[in-house]
Each structure stands twice: as structure tokens, then as C-alpha cells.
């Protein structure tokens, strides 16, 4: 089976979208229910800093990779069992 490598990024982008929605719901809850204080502000700041750090780490390790390359996998994969 061959396919371009950038296809593996689509599930990752989907996960990032879910992550962003959940994070926004968290922040919305804080603001909506009047729980904005120094502690919650610090927690949100640390959360955003950590998120940026993880995303930066991901970007830095993936940036040298050529995602346009075609990869081949499951070369010997077949749905038909071998006949003996």
C-alpha cells in the first residue's frame, strides 16, 4: 500500500481541533461561572505555555521530514491466506 506521508497529519489535525474545543470549553467555564482569580489565571497561563511548548516540540522534530514523500507499507499484506 502506498500513500503520501502528509495523510498521517490529518488525524493529528483532527485531534488538535478536538483539543482546542475542549480547552476553549474549559476557559469558557472559568469565565462563565466567575471563577477567574489569580490561581485560575496562573493555571490557564501554565496550560497555554505547556501547550505551546508541546506543539513547538512536535513542530521542531517533524519539520525536517518531507511530508510529500510517498511511503509504502504492508507490502506483504494480503486478505487471502497462503495456500499450502
Amino acid at each position: 500500500m502506498t500513500f503520501p506521508l502528509y495523510l498521517v497529519l490529518f488525524p493529528y489535525y483532527f485531534f488538535l481541533a478536538i483539543f482546542a474545543i475542549m480547552a476553549l470549553i474549559d476557559v469558557y467555564h472559568l469565565a462563565r461561572f466567575s471563577s477567574v482569580n489569580f490561581g485560575s489565571f496562573l493555571a490557564t497561563f501554565l496550560f497555554l505555555s505547556g501547550t505551546i511548548y508541546i506543539l513547538y516540540w512536535t513542530f521542531s522534530v517533524l519539520s525536517p521530514i518531507d511530508f510529500q514523500q510517498i511511503v509504502t507499507t504492508f507490502q506483504n499484506f494480503t486478505l487471502n491466506p497462503p495456500l499450502y
Partner: protein, 182 residues
């Protein structure tokens, strides 16, 4: 801090205490975060040690790095969500009532209130080594009706807060008695 919007504060009412769980309750969350992050790093370094070639594979190397990123972000988000639950779980004590806001997960929230003048019994409990050292425990406020009671776990200074609630309940009872005579 504007809590008046969430409790619909009455004109004569003012907020006296806002109680949250003891800050020591954040410690288990931080420990779980450290363990989960350590497990992630452990698996990463174990794979690097056992099969270093897999990281140079054009497909599996990329998949492993993306999975590592997803794992780290998921753990980080769960940690933040547990902190949000901590901040949203509170008791607001006014001169008229106690409003309990119980946050269970991100989409489950229970709000209930108890009039101070109806409170008959307040109990504070502190069990265990850590609760004794760090001075937190359980606070229970109960009315004459057996089913009307509030429980707030792991609150800081539970014995002091019990005395304060009893004092406020007495004051509120006097206020209501005077209002009834007029």
C-alpha cells in the same frame, strides 16, 4: 470577584466566605501528571533504546512522534480540566444562605442552596494523617429535615468554618425573628 451573578444575590445579602477545597487537594493531581508524563518519556526512551531504527523509518517514526505529541497534549488537557473542576467546586456563604456548587466533570454541575436560619447542625470532621497535618476536612451542614444537608469535602480549616457557620446561622435566626415581630 463577581459571584453575585451566579447566586442571584438579594439586595440585603452580602457574601462572607467563598470556600474551595484545600489547596493541598491539588497535590494528587500534580503527582498523577508527573507520573503520566514520566510514563510517556519512559516509553519514548525505551523505544529509542530497544529499537532506535524505528524513529528513522519514514512512516513509523512520524507516527510515533505524532502519538507522543497526542499523548502529551491529552495528559496536559486532563490535568488542566481537573484544575478547572477544582476552581469551579465551591461553597458561597452569605449572611442569608449557603450556595453549594458541585462540579463533577466538565459537563455536570449541581447548584443547591440552604437557608442559614434553617441550619440546625454543623459537623466538621478531619480524619487521617494528611488531613491532620495540613488541617483540612469535611464540613456537613444539616437542617431539621433529615434529607436537607450539605457536605463539603476537604475544606481548609473545617473546625473554624463550623463555628463561623453556627454564628452566621444564629445571626440569621435573630434577623428572621425580628422581621416576624414587625
Amino acid at each position: 470577584m463577581n459571584y453575585s451573578t451566579i447566586i442571584r444575590q438579594k439586595s440585603y445579602e452580602h457574601i462572607i466566605y467563598v470556600l474551595r477545597q484545600s489547596p493541598w487537594m491539588l497535590a494528587p493531581r500534580v503527582i498523577v501528571l508527573i507520573i503520566l508524563m514520566a510514563v510517556g518519556y519512559g516509553v519514548f526512551f525505551l523505544l529509542k533504546l530497544v529499537t532506535p531504527d524505528v524513529f528513522f523509518h519514514p512512516l513509523w517514526g512520524v507516527l510515533l512522534l505524532l502519538l507522543g505529541s497526542i499523548y502529551a497534549l491529552t495528559v496536559w488537557l486532563f490535568f488542566y480540566t481537573s484544575l478547572i473542576n477544582y476552581f469551579l467546586d465551591l461553597w458561597i456563604i452569605t449572611n442569608d444562605r449557603i450556595v453549594s456548587i458541585d462540579q463533577r466533570g466538565l459537563f455536570s454541575r449541581t447548584m443547591s442552596e440552604l437557608d442559614l436560619y434553617r441550619i440546625q447542625d454543623v459537623t466538621s470532621e478531619s480524619h487521617g494523617l494528611f488531613a491532620t497535618i495540613f488541617y483540612y476536612g469535611k464540613l456537613t451542614a444539616q437542617t431539621a429535615a433529615a434529607k436537607d444537608f450539605f457536605i463539603f469535602d476537604n475544606v481548609q480549616n473545617p473546625h473554624h468554618m463550623r463555628e463561623e457557620i453556627i454564628r452566621l446561622a444564629d445571626e440569621d435566626r435573630k434577623y428572621h425573628a425580628q422581621a416576624a415581630q414587625m
